[in-house]
Assembly symmetry: C3
Homo-oligomer: 512 residues x 3
């Protein structure tokens, strides 16, 4: 039929386009997808419904293609970028999540774009939050990224038009920044937090000779709300240095140098922006942990001292701080602007939770901060009580509602967690995280809009309901006050508790 | 004809949907409307014009249905939620505004959604400002609500993902909040302003045994710009407690309690989120005006003292403050962050104007604050000079314009005011409010973006024009300076003036 | 064919509309365009493609019409509003840029709307930044305007619902503002910066009897993000005074004056909002540089003293400040909140660069501030390295990309500069400006999001790359370190350098 043949044409055109395009850049999640959608929009004779069917098929086709692409790139097997061990060439197999989840608060492998990749490492950026769901538009101006490089690697000098906060989880990076007219170098290690202000030229080495580098980044763009760019000072052909964008006569005048010499300088580099450095180069750049001017007494491979925060621009080690919560079920490390002043401008708090295997975090909610959580290691799942989805579902379906309008209903939002999963817990939403029986679950949280935020526990010590007056408890629950007390006082743990006995792992139980 | 039969089909489908849905939740103003629009969008064969006609009919049909719905719910008669007296069952009849006004700055009954309703009270939330007009997108991140409950009522414990500022106009509520790990209770009374920070669990009683509770709220969501949710800690079936959203095994581990017991606890409550409390319960919760820990010397049924603002989180009584303006034509009470520090974070100022019957407010404008005004009592009308609408009108109609482009033209925006009307006066817009001859007009104003705001009077004492130099007056008006002075100095009143003699009440004279 | 006849009908309808409309108001850039687009949208039988073709023709037709319109108004010749000399009736001919450039960062004559025009002067406002490109949505809440009046002119009293920062380039204005209940008058001169807070009634005279007034304005609206209105206190028929928008009975009560007298007062002025003032009137308003109350010791025609900034609301003269950079190739004057406190609230910095003929600014980038640059005098061009456009181009074209995703590629964005050109340089983007051989190039920059901004030079003294460690240079460029040093150290100039020898002027070499 007419529709089918047109659809075939669309798919044919699209597959040709896809064959020549691979990889994705910061801004266009999928140019092939865009092209496909464009065709659907402009097909002669399509009405609205047909266009929608066409677009849906584009979407499915693209997702499928990308899965296959990743498999090809990795030599088959699991394409999860996070299922790797110390030796990056080997990958552990694992269950592939074929279904495309409908959970708007959960992000997995396929939601990351690889925007830089060489044989020495890669940079992956999570899609815009609003691309997944309009419910996340409150945090639209934040992006999540990850930098993974091999030992003894070098990341070419560049700057972003975005503020950036690093967290180091593997490897030993040295980050050099040019601020004002001097360079600062910081030897970082596992647990270090460092803010790189927008527009600061940086280059990075992994000084470790065995361990890969794994850095999680939160980015806050300054030019556009949800989008940022990399500008490579150093480079040539690949990475392309931005110097090449100026016309030859302008460069000649700017450098007072003939264009042929400049062409040579800016035409050499072809290795890509992450490359191998020799042992000698690494050594030299590791020890030059002082700026080219001035004294920086707190750098070098010293353990963080209590005084390191007085170094205005140095890192802060989250894992060396005394945990705010600690028992046999887990440990919680928190840093706010009183620990690391640079968090203040971004209204940010950072926390790291290490949930012992078989344990859980007592359900709680943040009064005003939204958590952007990145799973660093381990497995488990999270659960959240969510009113949004329930209302959307019922409104779109026009399903039965109670005769008298009443309170919202809450859906269980649940998602499996494993290395590399990102999940969002908005302010006010009660949530919990549970570690598997096999491994500790280690989660890094960027908590945005953190000023005056309070954690309100829902079970265990100091839980919210136990603060109510007796009469309020009775009226609220419709059972005698002592009954409420009995139940709400039984759990005497605080923050980290013993986990459920029959843990159901496996597939993501998403909302729909 | 084809179009008509399709339209009938749409209307039929829609009416079936509507029959099973009543009430509205926070986010979907009208799921039936959405369904109807969806049908229009996807009708095969409709071109753009036909779709628009179809959508307009959906809109009209819905509005009509909702009017009828409210009449059914109230047993006929006037459905205005604000036309009631002390005894909530009796309603005064009143002229129904059948026409749907085109005034983008005025909101009436039909613009409020009843999001909670039981036989003990209800909560009504004004639609998003941007739903009425794109001209209001500057205040899109504020919402207006009203809480109305019977005497001796109890509102179940809940928190919002929104900052909230209360103003008490009727009744004597006691508001209990859990902050950190203690509970604060505040006995409020008429005129009290209280801020409840986002994410704070609260429950409320009306301790009065005769007077209904009437609280006006300004909400500032934290997760999404213009939308917020309620999370009920206390509850069961109705209101649904969010605890029920967690899976049984997670709750068992969190509470260290068997699931059957938990099912019982969270399955009892069916009364809805506003319920009746016994006299004893009310008494106990009225006197416990101290937190469970610590001293709160300023609570209890004491009149507000000059020192009450030193209690960081206690209320501030607006009506007990000395009025900023007071004469026989009216009184103005104003509170800013110097009176109540918590207003600072929201950049908010609150004012209450009591315009004596037959009087008016001298026309003035705010230099930078936008007024969100809620009419608490009385009748009257407001007038405003508005350049936006004039330009839109002429641009869309392509009507004649002067050959030389010149200044904008100003339309008279006028609206009838009565209890429950909300009207917006943007910054810089000259406006005035006039009370009817029969009743005082009492208006509560939330003034947002209040920092450094200045009121500039246009007539009467200290009016703006009288500050101009003589030459400026002559050049500006093209009449001798003394002529300008004569007219601008005649009115010696300040802020509240004698009203117009021939007051024209009645229908809203809206813009179109 | 059917399409052609329908298109002719559209064009016919449209041309009739256009014949009666001239000039543009603040909000509707082109009502005729809007009408034309509307017709295209609702044409029966048009599919998506046909609609797009129709809309594109509307667009082209409108642009052409507007060019012709401007020529008619000016009596032929160049319609550029900025090609004029001291005597405003004479215009210098110049090359008309017929092509419509695709450069999203460059704005020229046709991008300004004349929103006020009389025979004594005019006000021109640059279109919304987002109308040109979505890439500029980060600065959407700023608007640029220019006020040009003849000598001895008077601008009628008005206020905006926008904060406003003035820069005086020609003429000697006296600006009178009503703040609180007193009037402040400031005699300004070339180089003065003054902030007028939102909602402040102002009137302006040009006290010079020979020199025209030319003031550049940055506006920051308070009601709507990207749109503002003028409210004329003084006026009558033209400019229309907003007093006329109130109903007669309300005005009678407000003024305690009969409506006939009021009609007379508000019905006289027909000269438009910019009118001629007599010598005596100018003299009287020049000398009354004190407010009607209180002492203002720093006003009057005194040169700015070091203490003038202590006058809280007085102007700051940018050109009298010691230049931050100065050599034979140019001078740079900068003012931030430490110079003029009022810039702090807008997070603004203002700079003025005077590039000597034949010279250039060394390529640099701002770490976080975006530059909104207005060319005040001279000619030249700018170049910028831009990653955005490259990505968009390739994504839309689905062109070949490298097999391994790598760094972005940078396009050369270049634009010719002349008086009245506005160009944007976003944060992090390397850019440079070059003056022609014939004239100095004088550029005024409003730098928004200025807090903590740093300028990072790319060539010359203190350039960024020279701060890198030797190993980093070698790894980055793939050439020996000394080679990099040799090239990056050759240019010993700072900020202003000798320009290119073979300057290519002429047409804008835009991106596409």
């Amino acid at each position: 039929m007419e529709l089918k043949s047109k659809l075939c044409l669309v798919v044919l055109v699209f597959s040709v386009l896809l064959a020549v395009s691979s990889g994705l850049d910061y801004k266009e999640r999928d140019p092939g997808l865009r092209q496909c959608m464009h065709q659907c929009q402009h097909q002669e004779g399509y009405d609205e419904q047909q266009k929608q069917i066409c677009e849906q098929r584009c979407d499915d086709y693209i997702k499928q293609k990308r899965q296959e692409e990743r498999q090809r790139r990795r030599g088959g097997g699991d394409t999860s970028f996070v299922r790797y061990d110390e030796n990056m060439e080997q990958y552990q197999g694992g269950q592939q999540h074929q279904q495309f989840d409908q959970n708007p608060y959960l992000f997995e492998d396929q939601d990351f774009d690889t925007i830089v990749e060489t044989d020495q490492g890669r940079v992956q950026i999570l899609q815009k939050f609003t691309e997944k769901s309009d419910l996340l538009r409150g945090i639209a101006n934040f992006r999540i990224g990850a930098l993974i490089t091999k030992p003894h690697s070098f990341v070419a000098p560049h700057h972003f038009d975005a503020d950036c906060v690093f967290f180091v989880f593997h490897g030993r990076p040295t980050i050099s920044m040019v601020r004002g007219d001097k360079r600062e170098s910081h030897n970082l290690e596992r647990g270090d937090i460092l803010r790189v202000p927008a527009g600061t030229p940086v280059y990075i080495i992994n000084r470790d000779e065995n361990e890969k580098l794994f850095v999680v980044k939160l980015l806050h763009p300054v030019n556009l709300p949800d989008q940022f760019e990399a500008f490579y000072e150093g480079g040539g052909e690949n990475p392309q240095s931005f110097f090449k964008a100026f016309s030859p006569e302008v460069l000649e005048a700017a450098f007072k140098t003939e264009r042929d010499e400049l062409r040579r300088l800016f035409g050499q580099q072809r290795q890509g922006s992450i490359m191998k450095a020799s042992r000698e180069q690494i050594e030299k750049m590791s020890h030059s942990s002082r700026s080219s001017e001035g004294l920086w007494p707190f750098h070098g491979d010293q353990p963080s001292t209590p005084f390191s925060t007085s170094s205005k621009s140095g890192p802060f080690n989250l894992l060396r701080k005394r945990p705010s919560q600690s028992n046999r079920h887990g440990r919680l490390f928190e840093a706010d602007s009183s620990d690391y002043k640079q968090l203040e401008e971004l209204d940010l708090q950072i926390s790291f939770a290490n949930i012992t295997r078989g344990s859980m975090i007592a359900p709680f909610f943040n009064s005003r901060a939204t958590k952007i959580s990145f799973v660093l290691d381990g497995e488990g799942f999270f659960e959240m009580a969510c009113p949004h989805l329930a209302s959307q579902e019922s409104s779109q379906g026009g399903s039965q509602r109670q005769q008298r309008s009443s309170s919202p209903s809450y859906q269980n939002v649940r998602g499996d967690l494993r290395r590399g999963t990102v999940f969002i817990v908005p302010a006010g939403h009660p949530a919990t995280a549970i570690a598997s029986r096999n491994n500790n679950l280690q989660i890094l949280c960027f908590e945005v809009n953190a000023k005056d935020n309070v954690r309100l526990p829902l079970t265990g010590k100091k839980n919210v309901v136990s603060q109510f007056e007796r009469e309020a408890k009775e009226l609220a629950f419709g059972v005698p006050g002592r009954e409420v007390d009995r139940i709400f006082n039984k759990q005497d743990g605080e923050f980290f508790l013993e986990g459920p006995n029959n843990q159901q792992q496996g597939r993501i139980r998403s909302v729909v």
